[in-house]
Amino acid sequence: MSKSNLTNNIRKLRFDNGQMTQQQLADKVGVTRQTIIATEAGKYAPSLPLAFRIARTFAVPIEQIFQYQDDDPQVSASDTNI
């Protein structure tokens, strides 16, 4: 599992939501604790359905949890123009 440009603040959100443990979050979104650990560490990019389930658990938009940094600034500029 290579590190991606995807960053997240799951850890912060867990603590903001009543000190939720990794196991509790894993049980809520239907994955193993290891997947949460790997996602938090940025070692695993979750699937879109899982990302939505995490966002729904914290009741925040998905962009507030996951941020994607593009290496090529021209690509992101053209994307925003569309």
Partner: protein
């Protein structure tokens, strides 16, 4: 450690050695002492035992059953697919390398011993299980960091 990781460790430490030894030993005996009913029978038994070593996985999975609700998810599935693919690729490379090696070590005038085939096949299975287990464990990596008690 989840179900897939457990299976990979068991396969690496138990299934691969059992499978490799079971495949090698009777063939070696046949090669040294010549074929006999006893040797062929022991080869059949050893292959069956090697094949049934997968039951160890079921046994240990039941014994070490954890209380976690979910033991297999999308990440485990992805890891399993990748490791199986790696095992399959290495199996083909091994098979081609084994064929070339046998072909190079025997001159064109000589024939290849029939003892070579069971060794190549059984060891091929051992190679596949070994590569699959190792790549599975590598993909999981060390999870000491970011773990909460």
């Amino acid at each position: 450690m989840n179900k897939t990781q457990r299976a990979a460790w068991i396969a690496l430490l138990l299934v691969v050695p059992v499978w490799a030894i079971c495949g090698q030993l009777p063939v070696l005996l046949i090669y040294l002492e010549g074929p006999s009913f006893l040797h062929l029978f022991s080869f059949a038994c050893a292959t069956i035992i090697g094949g049934l070593s997968w039951l160890l996985l079921l046994f240990f999975n039941k014994k070490w059953k954890r209380k976690a609700k979910i033991e297999f998810d999308e990440r485990d599935k992805l890891i399993l697919i990748r490791s199986t693919l790696a095992g399959y690729v290495v199996l083909w490379i091994y098979f081609i390398a084994a064929c070339i090696y046998v072909w190079l070590t025997t001159s064109p005038a000589r024939s290849i011993s029939v003892n070579v085939m069971p060794i190549v096949i059984v060891e091929g299975i051992a190679v596949f299980i070994f590569v699959q287990s190792v790549t599975t464990l590598i993909q999981y990596g060390r999870v000491g960091k970011n773990v909460e008690k």
